[in-house]
């Protein structure tokens, strides 16, 4: 499917980097403008695949394939399919928001700040488009240093601790992923496609069942830390609390999605039998995450910690959804990834706005903001309702699909997962009540200034998609159909044909999905 000779995806990755150059060459005062121009242009580019994919077909589009390190079987291979289709615009959109949020809140080392964000954006887009395992890994790790600096340089008091903890957890997981990739390449060498890191060629053979479990664990380690699944989640609250508002937006909005994306991109198609073998264990972790995250969120005094633990809870729900392996669960999981990016991103922007005004994030020191800032209050309530999954807004669509899949999978699993609705409402409503209403408990009482133009614009842009997805979910779900069909191809069909190593190129497996992928490469 290389109909488009135009290197759209490379351009999308390079544009933020060009923005870096512009920021570096310009004056610090102009840095936000350059960053905004670069992210806005990138956002427009990420929308192109969305438009071009109306035909609904499971293969990769906008494929670019060039040799990179031929002697090691590494190539520069990019492409978009239904799985990454919506994650790209989400990344582009939230990056624009991140720049706008930090428009005049960053005062020192302005250039470095925006350069870090632009490098981060390029790496995030790279992760969602890479079809070569090593390329994926390079982008995956390239995100670490900018995020390390964003948390560590522009964060709050305990920033160094949080930055180091973030990077150690992530690298510990991802180095295991690297070992997994190399072992996978050796397997590929002994099963036909040759020593290669190309994902599309890995899909040409079936991984022997005896190896699947170990490889799955190596891969899953990296993704579970990133999601984050309980008990690998402890870096998240620290990172969120210390990061600046824009950093939290991208962390929650995009970086956490990469864990789930990795599971869907690598684990599901490569290790189907291991996925079914580990489903009970992962389900338990997911459900524990839902309940434990929600309970912890309820006890938090710090607003950012509260939203961070609510992320743990929501990501647990997404994992439960995708591991149901049914079309509804996968669809719900992917939709919920977008929803969580929007609603949690919005909540972090709002919390940042509160901190800017009141210089505190403690629930015990807030209150009564609705009185002096009605516009702020309206946006706060909408974002809160979206996060709580109220019908009419986006959160409901994803949660409904996931719970549907959960009940189909095992009724008690659905019931346990459904506690997210109740518990979510509990901590979100408590938060809203204590922040917006009651009486002002802050040390320096007084009215806060309401949202002005910039903040109104940002929040309107965040809230609009919530309503659109909530009211017209088919915009998303229809386009996800092919990707989901592809992923939900049951493991059985793949095992029906055992691949003879030499003739791997000619096997017909499991319907059309494979052929599309082949055509894509």
């Amino acid at each position: 499917m290389t109909a488009h000779g135009f290197p759209l995806l490379s351009l999308t990755i390079l544009l933020p980097l060009a923005g870096c150059a512009a920021v570096l060459l310009g004056s610090p005062r102009r840095a936000p403008h350059a960053a905004l121009a670069a992210t806005a242009a990138t956002f427009l580019l990420t929308l192109v695949p969305l438009h071009a994919s109306g035909s609904g077909d499971g293969g990769f589009r906008f494929v670019e394939h060039h040799p990179w390190v031929e002697s090691l079987g590494i190539s520069y291979h990019l492409g978009v399919d239904g799985l990454s289709l919506f994650l790209l615009p989400l990344t582009g959109f939230l990056s624009v928001m991140a720049v706008l949020v930090s428009w005049n809140t960053v005062r020192e080392r302005v250039k470095g700040y925006f350069v870090s964000f632009l490098v981060l954006e390029a790496a995030m887009i790279g992760v969602f488009t890479a079809l070569d395992a090593v390329l994926f890994y390079v982008f995956w790790e390239a995100m670490l240093i900018p995020m390390f600096l964003i948390i560590g340089v522009w964060g709050s008091e305990n920033r160094r601790y949080a930055a180091v903890k973030f990077i150690l957890y992530t690298v510990a997981g991802s180095l295991l992923l690297l070992v997994g990739f190399i072992l996978m390449a050796f397997l590929s060498a002994s099963h036909g496609p040759g020593f290669t890191f190309d994902l599309t060629r890995w899909l040409l053979f079936s991984v022997p069942e005896s190896r699947q479990n170990w490889l799955f664990l190596l891969f899953f380690a990296a993704f579970a830390v990133k999601v984050p699944l309980v008990p690998f989640h402890t870096w998240l609250p620290d990172a969120h609390v210390e990061a600046p508002a824009a950093g939290s937006v991208l962390l929650a909005g995009v970086l956490l999605k990469m864990g789930v994306y990795g599971i869907l991109r690598f684990c599901f198609p490569l290790f189907p039998s291991a996925v079914s073998a580990f489903t009970p264990a992962v389900m338990v972790l997911g459900v524990v995450g839902i309940v434990y995250g929600a309970l912890l969120a309820f006890t938090q005094e710090d607003l950012k910690k509260l939203v961070a633990y609510s992320s743990v809870s929501h990501m647990g729900l997404i994992v439960v959804g995708i591991f149901c392996m049914s079309p509804a669960g996968l669809k719900g999981g992917i939709v919920q990834m977008l929803n969580h990016g929007l609603s949690t991103g919005a909540l972090f922007i709002l919390v940042g706005a509160i901190y800017e005004r009141k210089k505190t994030r403690k629930l015990a020191e807030l209150g009564g903001i609705a009185g002096s800032a009605p516009v702020f209050a309206v946006f706060f309530v909408i974002a809160m309702l979206s996060s709580a999954g109220i019908p009419g807004l986006n959160g409901f669509v994803g949660e409904f699909l996931i719970l549907l899949a959960g009940f189909q999978f095992r009724w008690w699993l659905g019931a346990l997962a459904a506690t997210t609705l109740v518990l979510g409402a509990v901590y979100l409503l408590r938060m809203t009540q204590r922040v917006l209403f009651e009486k002002d408990r802050s040390p320096e009482r007084g009215p806060v200034y309401d949202f002005r133009f910039r903040e109104r614009f940002v929040m309107t842009a965040m809230v609009l998609p919530m309503a659109v997805i909530g009211l017209f979910p088919s915009i998303l779900t229809d386009r996800l159909e092919p990707a989901v069909r592809d992923l939900a191809v049951p493991a059985v069909s793949r095992w029906a044909v055992e691949a003879p190593p030499a003739a791997a190129e000619h096997i017909q497996i499991g319907g059309t999905a494979r052929e599309h992928r082949l055509a894509g490469s």
Binding site: S71, L72, V138, E141, R160, V179
Partner: protein, 473 residues
């Protein structure tokens, strides 16, 4: 009477001839400008030697002296590596030799040491290798204590001398046992099945131990932190990279011999040394406050990662080792170059805390240091990533999974101290700091060059892989 004279082809030894003549000539330099002239001449000689090995002239490769000397493609590659390290280390030494009335001898000694490494790399006989090791060691004993004003320098020099003498003795004893088993001191004795495998094994074990001193492999690493700390920074930089390259060339030559009775313990011995070096080096580096001592322990750990290539020689071990060495030279000498630019005469007693706020004082230098630290930690998009990646691939291909898992765990540990440097530079305010030294333009320029090279090997490593691939088909 008919005496068969060995066939001598001096053209093969042209680079060594240039090094020797220049080194000897430098010792006779006198006058006010002797220091600068010596630096220029020594760097020119090393650069010519590097180019002659990188772009071999007709006759550059070949054997001579009855097979005692043999330059093949692999030897030329390792000569390039040692020359590169020596060249960079000399560029870092300008500051430290400036005030010394004997500054010019410094460069002569470095060239003699480089000559010794050349001999180690191309020799095909254990006795000639021993000659090379001694030619390397003697100048280094002097250089380690070149800074006569510093007590640590004297201490380090004596320590280095004692342990160096000890390792020479081990090597000689090993050679004797090897001779007893194989009937020759030539490397060719390895391929024949030995009459006394136990004797051969004992000899080789001693030889490998002596080489372990040169690559600071655990348990032969004790001297490194003290010597590095006391030596001038340029010498520490040289010690951290160049002898490692030469010793690995010898180990590679021993390791590539046909495995059989008496040599089959080598892969395991190397694997154990690799694991121990990674563990001890990384864990000890965690506690260092002194930048040079931290780099010394980090060098021990990096030597451990490189040693992983030796058990995997049947697969991709040798190209992986060569690539790792190249990247290591770039990033480690880069880190020393940054140390020289910020040390301002403080030399080996530079603390990590002295870098605080460097990002606001000297953003470019701080950025270069960040690149080196990230690369040493093995994160993309730097050469350090591909070095580790290739090494892991080579080791996994030969089934050393547990060694790779240990390396992975230790890499996570290493992030603590490498990123601590980045955090100190970027995340602490400049507490008055030290006045920016007048500048070390040569070291600063070198740091910039090496940072670019480190990034280039991480983004476009393909052509280097191809070049190394031609050497080790």
């Amino acid at each position: 009477m008919n005496i068969a004279l060995p066939e001598v082809d001096l053209a093969t030894l042209l680079p060594e001839g240039i090094l020797l003549t220049t080194a000897a000539a430098i010792l006779f330099l006198r006058g006010a400008r002797a220091n600068g002239t010596a630096l220029a001449a020594a760097m020119a000689a090393a650069a010519v030697s590097l180019l002659l090995s990188l772009f071999p002239y007709p006759g550059a490769a070949g054997g001579t002296f009855d097979g005692l000397v043999g330059k093949d493609a692999a030897a030329l590659l390792f000569l390039v590596l040692t020359d590169l390290a020596a060249l960079a280390a000399m560029a870092l030494s300008r500051q430290e030799t400036g005030g010394d009335e004997n500054g010019e001898t410094y460069y002569g000694l470095v060239l003699f040491a480089l000559l010794g490494m050349h001999v180690m790399v191309f020799a095909r006989d254990l006795l000639v290798i021993f000659l090379g090791m001694e030619i390397l060691a003697l100048p280094l004993y002097v250089l380690a204590g070149f800074d006569r004003g510093r007590k640590e320098g004297m201490e380090g020099s004596v320590k280095y001398f004692l342990l160096g003498g000890f390792s020479s003795a081990l090597f000689l004893l090993g050679t004797a046992l090897y001779y007893g088993a194989a009937g020759t001191t030539g490397m060719g004795g390895l391929s024949a099945s030995p009459a006394a495998p136990v004797l051969l094994a004992a000899g080789l074990a001693l030889v490998v131990a002596a080489l372990g001193f040169k690559i600071t492999a655990v348990p032969f690493h004790m001297w490194a932190p003290d010597v590095y700390e006391g030596a001038p920074l340029g010498v520490a930089a040289l010690l951290s990279a160049a002898p490692k390259a030469a010793a690995f060339a010898v180990l590679l030559r021993i390791g590539l011999a046909v495995p059989g009775a008496g040599t089959d313990f080598l892969p395991w011995a190397c694997a154990v040394m690799a694991g121990a070096s990674m563990a001890v080096g990384n864990l000890a580096a965690l506690r260092q406050e002194n930048l040079v001592r931290m780099l010394a322990y980090s060098g021990v750990a990096q030597g451990g990662y490189m040693l992983m290539g030796l058990p995997a020689l049947a697969g991709d071990g040798s190209p992986a080792l060569a690539f790792y060495l190249l990247v290591y030279i770039l990033m480690n000498l880069g880190a020393f170059a940054v140390a020289v630019t910020v040390a301002g005469g403080k030399g080996g007693s530079l603390k990590i805390g002295d870098l605080s706020g460097l990002a606001s004082r000297r953003p470019l230098v701080a950025f270069a240091m960040a690149v080196f630290m990230v690369s040493l930690a093995g994160l993309p998009p730097t050469g350090g990533f591909f070095a580790k990646f290739y090494m892991f691939k080579a080791a996994l291909g030969e089934g050393w999974l547990f060694l790779v898992l240990l390396a992975v765990g230790m890499t996570v540990v290493s992030l603590f101290y490498y990123l601590r440097v980045v955090a100190v530079m970027y995340m602490t305010e400049d507490k008055g700091g030290r006045a920016v030294p007048a500048g070390a333009p040569l070291a600063g320029g070198l740091a910039a060059l090496l940072a670019l090279a480190t990034l280039a090997t991480g983004i476009l490593p393909s052509w280097i892989f191809q070049g190394i691939g031609r050497v080790f088909p």
